[in-house]
């Protein structure tokens, strides 16, 4: 029998006639390379730093044979931070990919259309106006994100259809309003409170610990699995809603599920480390261009998100060891510059 020509190299698992799994070769190779880079970078981040621990000692501590101080620094301080960076980077990127696919627009990512700003507003209200603990702040951020999403979608929907430029412009508007509310809340606070809140508000990975990582990881894995299950129906929807409907897909259900999963992912990360912007916007776009595919590329997006956030955190910590920057500032810079470079290159070559 003839093999199906998909127009690009494909890795096949299972029999030729009835394959178990078809993987895009370029995408698979890219994912493998990116995850290898992430692991190498994570290893380097765990074993180097200002504490004066040799790589050999650090490795021993990771394997459970180090002395007390080294174990504390490497396993209790550095490791949770690295795990969190990788995990949340992937979460942000997937959330961005889902929303960009839903809105069919690269600007339709949750950090542009205000969901992240809304989470931050929720957290600020709890933190500075109501005065709550960590759990309350996380609840506040989740509530803020969900409320903002509800408002943006309600304002942007027209005869039940939410798609395209209207959503983005409504989102930018709502986002600008919420951002100015945030500025105002910060201005009314005392200087110390304001500096603390705005450090968090720039996206900050410091102070991570295993008791915080474990629940975050559990929740995010649930959402990530859900996103992976949504990938195939969403690719079908992208071809065209009539086409998907003709194939027997419940388009509305898929869209609602994608919105819920996307908001869950972004609110989770904002509640834990603050609004880390630009990973959700840039990672799926970078992935799309590297894979040279026009659709949803969840795997490569997640890999790029993880690498991007980890890299940003490593840079943020090491740029000036005396006053480490919030990671969000570095993600904006790296992600933003790379994204601009892509735009310029695209303008030149095509």
């Amino acid at each position: 029998m003839t093999t199906l020509d998909l127009g690009r190299p494909v890795l096949r698992l299972g029999r030729a006639g009835r394959p178990l799994l078809l993987l895009d070769a370029r995408s698979a190779a890219l994912c493998a390379g990116l995850w290898t880079a992430t692991v190498l970078l994570a290893g380097w981040a765990a074993l180097s730093g200002a504490a004066g621990i040799t790589p050999a000692d650090g490795l021993a501590a990771l394997l459970g044979r180090g002395d007390e101080y080294t174990t504390m620094v490497v396993v209790e301080w550095r490791a949770p931070r690295i795990v969190m960076a990788v995990l949340l980077g992937a979460c942000l990127a997937i959330s961005g990919a889902l929303f960009q696919n839903l809105t069919a627009n690269p600007l339709g990512s949750p950090d542009v259309i205000g969901f992240q700003t809304g989470s931050y507003t929720g957290a600020l209200v709890v933190m500075l106006l109501l005065g709550g603990g960590t759990a309350a702040v996380i609840t506040g951020a989740l509530t803020g994100g969900l409320l903002t999403a509800a408002i943006v979608f309600a304002l942007a929907s027209r005869r039940g259809a939410v798609r395209g430029v209207r959503l983005i412009i409504v989102g930018i508007g709502v986002s600008a309003m919420l951002a100015s509310v945030n500025v105002w809340i910060l201005l009314t606070a005392t200087v110390e409170d304001a500096i603390m809140a705005s450090l968090w508000g720039a996206g900050n990975l410091s102070g991570m610990s295993w008791p915080l990582v474990v629940p975050t990881a559990t929740v995010s894995i649930v959402f990530l699995v859900a996103a992976a299950l949504l990938a195939r129906p969403m690719k079908v929807t992208q071809v065209g809603i009539p086409f998907a409907t003709a194939l027997g897909q419940n388009v509305r259900a898929v869209q609602i599920a994608a919105i819920v999963v996307g908001i869950g992912l972004i609110a989770l990360s904002t509640a834990t480390v603050g609004p880390v912007s630009f990973v959700a916007l840039a990672a799926p776009q970078i992935a799309r261009r590297l894979v040279r595919a026009d659709g949803l590329a969840l795997g490569p997006s997640a890999a790029i998100g993880a690498l991007l956030l980890l890299l940003a955190d490593v840079i943020a910590q090491r740029l000036d060891p005396d006053s480490p920057l919030p990671v969000g500032i570095v993600t904006v810079s790296i992600g933003g510059i790379y994204f601009l470079w892509l735009l310029i290159r695209e303008g030149r070559t095509r």
Binding site: A156, S180, V183, W184, L187, G336
Partner: protein
């Protein structure tokens, strides 16, 4: 086609009124002229409000007396001369500058959803100011305003270069994308500088939200010549912009030089947006709002849009500033208030009109 035989005046009318029915033109012209009076009146009311409204209520007669007879010993006179008058002048200057800068940007990019804030020009100017303050020990507006102009110029050239090169040139979404990305990067850099230099953060906390309260009158007046120069350039380029609004090909056919027009307009945008940002910080949405309101009342004619923007933008800014002073016990920076006025209008516009699903 007979367009080569048209006189310049007819050409301009073709350019400006192409979308309208020719039968209504006399009506429209009369309406446009008549409209300037209520707009000017509104602007005057807003400026008066800016003089009269404050966290401390002073009767209008007292304000007038204090304004006309400066008296260093009198508390009210001091307040009027050191706070109310500088703020009102700044409202007028920054408002006009931002409104016209927005109109210029919308005209030259042919993208209605554009203003110096959205395309990152204000962010570029404020990054330059923050850098000058933190690393080069500047403290006076006469020093850092040059940085502000340079920042605005570099940013707008970059956004235009990205948005107008390649086969996708003139695609509004692409340019907005480039602007939003650039703006985010530049404000990220600003935050990085502010976080590592707490003395600048402390000083510029109010300014970075957009406020009219941070500058003395002398500082505002140092900016004024540059803003006026920007306004003059804008006024002189309105005809060229009308021609450009037909598209590059048609503009070239009519003997215009699109690239030359864009370069001149970029200088005007840098002067206007850079000047306003240096004095009042990054204030958003005025540049988006004013030209849209102007277009609603006068139609697609750049000269009239600019003229109305000069009146509408300070009106909105003055009312927003006065509102911010009395809204709470403390003061809400005007940048926050304009976002609250501008964003719902933007959302309403998007909901009311058909936006092309690009």
């Amino acid at each position: 086609m007979a367009s080569s035989q048209l006189s310049p005046a007819e050409t301009r009318d073709l350019a400006s009124d192409g979308a309208e029915e020719t039968g209504h033109r006399p009506d429209l012209l009369r309406r446009r002229r008549l409209l300037l009076f209520p707009l000017a009146l509104l602007c005057l009311i807003a400026l008066c409000a800016s003089m009269l409204v404050g966290s401390r209520p002073i009767p209008p007669a007292e304000v007038l007396r204090a304004a006309l007879h400066p008296d260093p010993a009198d508390e009210i006179s001091q307040l009027v001369h050191l706070s109310r008058i500088p703020r009102t002048v700044l409202v007028l200057l920054a408002g006009a500058a931002l409104g016209v800068a927005g109109a210029l940007m919308q005209a030259v990019t042919r993208n209605p959803m554009t203003d110096p804030g959205i395309l990152g020009v204000n962010s570029g100017a404020s990054l330059a100011v923050v850098t000058g303050l933190a690393f080069f020990g500047m403290s006076d507006i006469s020093q850092y305003m040059w940085w502000s102009f340079a920042g605005a110029m570099v940013t707008s050239v970059l956004v235009f270069a990205i948005g107008t090169t390649g086969p996708a040139r003139g695609n509004p979404i692409r340019m907005t994308l480039a602007g939003v990305a650039l703006g985010a990067v530049l404000s990220g850099f600003s935050s990085a500088v502010l976080f590592t230099h707490s003395e600048v953060l402390e000083r510029m906390r109010g300014w970075s939200a957009g406020t009219t309260a941070s500058q003395p009158l002398e500082a505002t007046l140092q900016i004024a010549p540059f803003i006026l120069l920007g306004l003059v350039i804008a006024a002189l380029s309105t005809r060229a912009l009308d021609v450009l609004s037909l598209g590059d090909a048609a503009a070239v056919a009519m003997g215009a030089h699109p690239q030359r027009i864009r370069a001149v307009v970029l200088v005007a945008i840098a002067l206007l947006a850079g000047g306003a940002t240096a004095a009042a910080g990054p204030i958003g949405f005025i540049g988006l709002l004013a030209p849209h309101l102007a277009r609603m009342v006068v139609g697609p004619h750049q000269g009239w849009i600019m003229a109305c923007s000069v009146l509408i933008a300070p009106t909105v800014l003055g009312l927003a500033d006065s509102l911010g002073r009395v809204l709470t016990a403390g003061e809400v920076p005007v940048g926050v208030v304009t976002a609250f006025i501008g964003a719902p209008v933007l959302i309403g516009m998007v909901r009311r009109f058909r936006v092309s699903e690009a």
